[in-house]
Symmetry: C2
């Protein structure tokens, strides 16, 4: 049986994909796929998402060069979430951090937070000045 038959896309035809760096276990980002972008991901070995804001495909790294080579694709018990292991070239985050999850709460009472990693590049360095 194909895993596609186990997947449940939401009312918009989308499924969330957690992207994890295989070599470090670091969770890098979460983005959304539709069936076609998942098929492109499987066929090319590069993550391809569906942009909800722009209503278009986007291959991760198509502008920045920060592509993700797919190493493993897992799916959860309910079939409504993907977990994709990748090798990340450069920074995953468009803000120039290795992971999009670069801020953590330090005080559960107030919700105060801090930045937990160094910014490796500025967005201008990645994408050029706008």
């Amino acid at each position: 049986m194909s895993f596609y038959e186990k997947l449940k896309f939401n009312a918009d035809g989308l499924i969330p994909a957690i992207i994890q760096e295989q070599s470090t276990g670091r969770v890098l980002m979460l983005a959304w796929m539709n069936r076609a972008s998942l098929e492109k991901t499987m066929a090319t070995g590069r993550t391809v998402f569906w942009s909800r804001s722009r209503q278009t495909f986007w291959m991760k790294g198509e502008t920045s060069g920060h592509v993700q080579a797919v190493k493993e694709v897992a799916f959860d018990c309910d079939g409504d979430t993907l977990l994709i292991q990748v090798e990340q070239i450069g920074a995953a985050c468009h803000e120039g951090y290795h992971s999009c999850f670069f801020r953590s709460v330090v005080d559960p009472g107030t919700g105060a937070y801090h930045v937990t990693e160094k910014q490796s590049q500025t967005p201008e360095e990645i994408y050029g000045k706008k």
Copy 2:
């Protein structure tokens, strides 16, 4: 500034929370929180989600005993996803696997998959016979 001000809940008032086991880096599950369940999570140090199907709060482990002790709460660049590090007691998955992501694709062409971990308990052992 509080991290609550950085978060964007979706049209249903929900935000996805990736749950990762801090000691192993294993991604255990993804579930949804609303603002109130996130506040309960922060206040109690145990993960509390919002069930979309039952439209109610559920503290992870309230029936099974398989609670999650919150170790760290991170959020992403867009403020629309949480990444919560936990200590997991017992199995995270209601099917008795340590992680809900216990199946992976083995053939990207056909989508054939296999089970990647041992089932530590059956659902009957966790929840009793129904």
